[in-house]
Subunit: 212 residues, 2 copies
DNA sequence: CCGTAACATGGCAGCGGTTGACAAAAGGCG
DNA sequence: CGCCTTTTGTCAACCGCTGCCATGTTACGG
């Protein structure tokens, strides 16, 4: 985690500004090196060499080498859950999740470069992929709990919350995959709607999707 | 990986037998220690100490510390894909996957202790959980490709194969989670059917599942 | 302006996982 | 028994990561 909330106060002291700068420089250098010569082939020394900072300092900013890449996705889980909690009570659960996913879409598309770089790294780096999947699983747990609360059931005994959560996120995942494959050119929101529609109406009844 | 297919020939020489024995002893010792004192608190030296083997040898049998736990799940991916390929062409895709998942069920329930131990370790060990999720993702890719072939479409352009795969596996996952939570006592096949039914017919229409 | 407290950094030493290289032992076989 | 192949042990090294302590830098009250 390395909780370093930027403290959006004005008059943010020199100290704070310096820290943010270092962190930004480290991330940039790291991602550059990673995408250039590969994650595994890049050592911590390589990274800190670019920023002229000690290796020890690197680990004061990031819990691990992977964190540089995936730290970006940290807040999204709470964001998603928050959005879900904000949906009106009467809404059908799957629909509520669908609406909540809109928030994630916005976060993804607000910094496409960042997301695309991370996903691309995930593609051929097991360590990154694993971390991302784990994050994804956490989101699912959050959504599951929220849905359980909303339905007033125990998520350990009633399968529906987890089921809805995992299916909705699977649809999300699928949409994002396709978005990444398109290099970020296609409309993520449209892709997501397409996936969710297919899932929401029963899979063997999925109409031939118009894709081409 | 560390492909060590046991070579089911009879007259398997002493050499081969010894290897299998060492491997078995290592896995047993490792899992015991892991579940006892925790994965991170267990060092490679601890493990090899029990079996009286050098640390170097450990890494000749397993690619990593995690592999001792998850190596067991290695073949399941190909198994699943094979089962799917064997389904008749006319079958609706989601239904075909459902049938194929039966094979996994059998593997899971054939050695429940092993699976339960692995899942329990995954629960509180990020490293293991990550590896398992990655394996799961690979299964999904396999199913996706197979479905795409079966539908005669390009999985990069048509979302349906991936969607069906991820949703079906999400249902599988949910069922397994519940099975693990029950300590392996509930009927995994029934749980799976329940999940798949709910998913196959559209989620907001899911009837209040009878659980209690 | 200064002194001090609070905090950020650097350096170091160390642990543990992982790998390569080479030499020693042990099984397979004539 | 000897030779060949495979497996094992030893050793050295790299790298990610952490704790500890010293040093430097910023914040702040007098």
């Amino acid at each position: 985690m390395c909780y370093d909330v930027p403290m959006q106060e004005r008059t943010m002291g020199l100290r704070e500004r310096k820290k943010q700068r270092t962190r930004a420089e480290l991330t940039e250098a790291a991602i550059l090196l990673f995408t250039d010569r590969g994650f595994d082939a890049t050592t911590i020394e390589d990274i800190v060499g670019e920023v002229e900072v000690s290796p020890r300092t690197f680990f004061r900013y990031f819990d691990s080498k992977e964190d540089v890449v995936i730290g970006f996705f940290d807040d999204m889980g709470v964001e998603l859950r928050g959005m879900l909690a904000a949906r009106p009570q009467g809404e059908a659960p799957f629909t509520a999740v669908r609406r909540a996913l809109g928030a994630l879409i916005e976060l993804f598309t607000s910094e496409p470069e960042r997301v695309l770089a991370a996903k691309r790294l995930a593609y051929d780096t097991p360590a990154i992929r694993a971390r991302l999947l784990d994050k994804h699983a956490r989101w699912e747990n959050g959504v599951t709990e929220e849905l359980a609360a909303r339905l007033g059931v125990d998520p350990e005994r009633d399968p529906r919350p987890r089921l809805i959560a995992s299916v909705a996120l699977a649809a999300f995942s699928t949409a994002v995959s396709r978005w990444v494959d398109s290099g970020g050119r296609e409309d993520l929101k449209a892709l997501l709607n397409q996936s969710l529609d297919a899932v929401g109406t029963g899979l063997d009844r999925t109409p031939p999707a118009s894709v081409g």
